[in-house]
Subunit: 181 residues, 2 copies
Amino acid sequence: MREDTRSRIQEIALKLFTEQGYEATSLREIAEELGVTKAALYYHFKTKEDIVASLADMRVADVEELLTWVRSQPKTPETRKELVLRYAAKLTNPRYLEVARFMERNQTAMRDHPKIHRMREVMLELTDELNDPGDPLAVRISRSMALFTLHAGKWMSQDEKLTDEEINEAAIEVALRLMEP
Amino acid sequence: MREDTRSRIQEIALKLFTEQGYEATSLREIAEELGVTKAALYYHFKTKEDIVASLADMRVADVEELLTWVRSQPKTPETRKELVLRYAAKLTNPRYLEVARFMERNQTAMRDHPKIHRMREVMLELTDELNDPGDPLAVRISRSMALFTLHAGKWMSQDEKLTDEEINEAAIEVALRLMEP
DNA sequence: GTCTATAGCGAGATAGAC
DNA sequence: GTCTATCTCGCTATAGAC
């Protein structure tokens, strides 16, 4: 029982965009790997950018939810720690992690894409919630690295002979250490 | 007394490639900003890729020098710390930092470019020198973030009302903390 | 060293048959 | 829902005059 075509396009596009870059990946390549012609793609997505938008949608709602939550909480060290943990929980969804990597690797190419632009904005606001403007610069740099370290820690560990659980815990450990004063 | 045309092409290309992305920046745009036609660019660089190669050259030699140095040293905590400090010293050259940012933002687009490929390779080897294979994963993740944190810490602080010296010290502080056990 | 003109290509996108 | 055929566009790169 195979997935529907729309999902397979997203899956293949995400893979190729991440490996080769967004601009370097043509619709012809995606179609070829899917086993159809590129004209068929246009039945499922109006444009190439629409494919990206559908990928971004996998993340945006999650992060906006976190942002809403954190803003309803008191700005305490405990809230910050909890935010890192909740973000890490979202990241246990492999699709989320893959989309994050795609965005990270194609930052500039995606510069004018509204959905991606919104995503960056939300991530910046989330990072802001981890920081007090009055803190020393070193503290702010350290805290601003926390969420990215969750991503990067997992990316770099993916081919280790370790369980997802172990990788997850290690990434969280480093991220939380970056949050300490 | 203005710079020669070749340097100005590099300068403009570096700026546009970083802001808009490599593929999204056409030679026409570069030429326009320079005030010539794109045909003129081909007198100074054989291809678009050659411009990138000339940019990469600004970094590769520096990093290879560091790699040679660190491999001539005993693998001690002191050597590692000194490597971070020496890398930070290279980063005080604004051009180096800009080229690092260009590469970071255009990773996938530059995937098949030999010079950029070599650069990534050397950076990975440099990061390897900061790690013992036997260390726990959390320690290895932490140490692997150190050099990148020097870049990112500076990028994110560039519009703060602080001196380069203060930014530099803060970034080093965070990077060294990531090196501690 | 810079210009005009253009070759040559592959991209995204569309029309209309099946 | 997928196909063939085609349009249009902008890009890299080159030829050759000045």
